[in-house]
């Protein structure tokens, strides 16, 4: 089944590449998303044709992530046709095909049970997203793409070295190494510590670069700032989560080796540092898309923080992965609409959006409140869970820092968001031809509804899946 989850998007990619019509092609994206959702439904329904290959199959974590990716992708894809219709001046053949490839590779990451394969998939996503960032074809987007590619590739290269180190740790312990997760977990206790430790550090830095943990986050503001809102949503919601999964795989091995504490120390410091950096750069941030990028950095920090605390924190982190991704979808898509209407990302030019684009601006505002952990939205529940986990672990200093940083971030983000939505719009802003349409608003509404739903009620199967995934990460059976 996992294989199908990877192959389906690739087939659609081929189809998209083959499709001649610029107007028909975009509709392949939601179609692929829908198909994927169907497959996932089968999988979750237990009709999944078990693990065909030893190095590509879905454990609970994989199932969780693939399901979430399918949902997110479907909604973003539903936004795509409307968007691409507006950008009819740009050919979208490459865009559609590559987006689908990117999607397939993300599924590959989720399903990969072999560290090498995992790495290949992650690198593949890096390369696939390059053209997406470059969609706008202007100097700024070139620059962003270049930085993204180079920094990403270098980071990933380090991750490869880390993977090799882990492999060598097995080799050195005299185990027949296969880099297959089950084997690694089984023999973890015998792995040679120095290699394992440095391997984890390398992988953490490498995949952390993809995930956008400070100080490896520098590509993020540029990339998210220049990419179309749609791509931003897929990156911030999907790719970062996949990189997170990659880190979790490494963490699993260390946990199995009884080195969880070692890993947690690193994760804790990186997490808090990321939140701090994000807060520092969000204050008085004059560019609302860059601001979203820093918000993404912040939430990556929260994710690893949750893992670092462990226990309920792991559950909270996984839940937060979903909440953050969906909310980021709301934010990036609505920000994209606002960007369309105003043609600027600077808060100096963009004011009074509520009066120009009532719907999009309202969603942007709602997304802001959601992402900053306002009840009754989903992120509130997950952040609350993480916080109580921190307090339960009696890490009061960490809790205080966590809350203080949340205030700083709220100030920074709120300042920018309110500057955008409130106040008096400029003349040419009111004169803009762009208006909220169904295609550009409905997906956002659905995403927001999902975020709200996750805050009010976590369906039984989902919480079960989350619990299992958390078990997998924690390594308890």
């Amino acid at each position: 089944m996992a294989l199908w989850l990877v192959l389906t998007p690739l087939c659609f990619a081929l189809a998209a590449f083959a499709t001649p019509s610029e107007r028909v092609r975009p509709w392949l994206l939601p179609l692929a998303g829908a198909t994927q959702l169907g497959l996932i439904a089968l999988e979750l329904g237990g009709h999944g044709t078990g693990s065909g290959q030893p190095w590509l199959w879905l454990d609970p974590l994989g199932r969780l992530v693939t399901a979430y990716l399918a949902l997110l992708f479907f909604l973003c894809a539903a936004y795509a046709p409307g968007y691409l219709a507006l950008r009819s001046e740009r050919p979208n053949r490459i865009f559609c095909a590559v987006t689908l490839v990117f999607f397939g590779m993300m599924n590959l990451i989720a399903g990969a049970q072999h560290l090498g394969l995992l790495w290949v998939a992650v690198e593949a996503t890096t390369l696939a997203t390059g053209p997406l960032l470059y969609f706008n074809r202007n100097p700024r987007s070139i620059e962003a793409t270049w930085k993204y590619l180079l920094i990403g590739s270098v980071g990933i290269a380090l991750a490869l070295l880390g993977t090799f180190f882990v492999a060598y740790s097995a080799l050195q312990a005299g185990i027949a190494t296969s880099l297959l997760m089950p084997d690694m977990l089984a023999n973890a206790t015998q792995l040679s510590r120095p290699w394992l430790h440095s391997g984890f550090v390398l992988a953490l830095v490498g995949y952390g670069t993809k995930m956008g943990l400070a100080p490896m986050h520098t590509w993020k503001p540029d990339a998210y700032g220049e990419a179309p809102g749609l791509v931003g949503a897929l990156l911030a919601g999907g790719l970062t989560s996949c990189a997170f999964v990659a880190i979790l795989r490494m963490f699993q091995i260390l946990g199995a080796a009884g080195e969880a504490e070692f890993a947690r120390g690193l994760l804790l410091s990186l997490g808090l540092f990321s939140m701090a950096v994000a807060g520092a750069f969000m204050v008085r941030q004059g560019d609302y898309k860059r601001m979203l990028a820093y918000s993404s950095v912040e939430h990556m920090g929260i994710l690893v923080l949750g893992i670092a605390i462990g226990g309920a924190g792991t559950f909270g982190a996984l839940l937060h992965m979903l909440n953050n991704g969906l909310t980021k979808g709301v934010l990036f898509l609505s920000a994209g609409n606002i960007h369309r209407a105003y043609g600027s990302k600077r808060t100096d030019d963009v004011t009074g959006a509520l009066r120009v684009l009532p719907a999009s601006a309202a969603f942007f505002l709602a997304g802001f409140f959601a992402i900053t952990g306002t009840p009754p939205f989903g992120p509130f529940v997950s952040e609350f869970t993480i916080l109580s986990a921190i307090l339960h672990a009696e890490r009061y200093g960490v809790a205080a820092a966590f809350l203080a940083l949340l205030v700083v971030i709220f100030v920074g983000m709120g300042g920018t968001v309110l500057a955008v939505v409130q106040g008096e719009p400029s003349e040419q802003a009111l004169a803009t031809p762009y208006r909220d349409g169904w295609l550009s608003v409905a997906p956002i509404a659905v995403l927001l509804a999902l975020v709200l739903l996750l805050g009010l009620w976590i369906p039984e199967p989902l919480s079960a899946l989350l619990t299992d995934a958390a078990r997998v990460v924690e390594g308890v059976h």
Binding site: W55, H114, G116, L117, W119, V120, E123, A124, T126, L127, G130, P131, Y134, R137, P139, R140, I142, E143, A144, T145, W146, K147, L149, L150, S153, V154, A157, L160, L161, F164, A167, Y168, A170, L171, Q172, T177, S178, L179, S192, P194, W195, S198, P221, D222, G225, E226, F281, R290
Partner: protein
């Protein structure tokens, strides 16, 4: 066998120094290419007994790293009429000194790690670390986009060298996947470089600083 392997690895290290020393882009690219050929060869030498699979891998490596990628880079270079790396952030002599320093550090570092006996005296691990560090040095000190790609290649070569120790561990498909990724990466970078040169009529990253806080 070990002696021959070490010989090759020494050649690899040599390429590092040449790369750090040269100011001419074409030369840098060629050194990277030669290094690619060398690591391909090293792969076969290290595991001659492993049979066809390794051979195929080695050949693929040599073709990709030795021929394809350099040609991509040379093409990109031809588009813009630049020949040499103007004044890097760190002078060439300094780079050389740092390179030497890096090599020393990696020797020490690799000694400090618990190695298998067959790797203890072999140069594999130190050479790989040294090459990785060299790649990093090039990446962070050279101004031209193209040189940075060369640095990235060197980095990859270094990691590849480390991979020599665990060819058994890594399935063939993954190895191929790694190579494929590398190829696509350089390919995409090449495209982007084309656009950079078209937009800015130069390949200097100095122009790529408009996105800032």
């Amino acid at each position: 066998m070990i002696e021959l392997l070490d010989l090759v690895l020494v050649a690899v290290l040599l390429q590092n120094f040449l790369m750090l020393g040269t100011s001419r882009l074409r030369a840098a690219i060629q050194f990277a290419g030669i290094q690619g050929v060398l690591v391909g060869a090293a792969l076969y030498i290290a595991h001659a007994d492993a049979g066809l699979r390794v051979l195929a891998l080695a050949i693929a490596t040599v073709i990709l790293k030795g021929l394809v990628i350099p040609s991509i880079l040379l093409r990109a270079m031809r588009n813009v009429s630049i020949r040499r790396e103007i004044e890097p952030f760190i002078g060439f002599t300094t780079s050389l000194i740092l390179g030497a320093l890096a090599t020393g550090v990696s020797l020490v570092f690799s000694r400090s790690l618990p190695l298998l006996d067959e790797h203890l005296e072999a140069l594999i691990v130190p050479a790989s670390f040294a090459t990785v560090l060299t790649g990093f040095l090039v990446l962070t000190t050279r101004r031209k986009a193209i040189t940075q790609v060369v640095g990235y290649l060197t980095l990859e070569n270094g990691i590849f060298v480390f991979g020599l120790t665990l060819v058994e561990a890594i399935p063939f498909l993954v190895e191929i996947g790694v190579l494929l990724d590398l190829f696509v990466a350089v390919f995409v970078m090449g495209i982007i470089m084309d656009h950079i040169s078209r937009e800015f009529s130069s390949l200097s990253t100095e122009h790529l600083t408009s996105l800032r806080e």
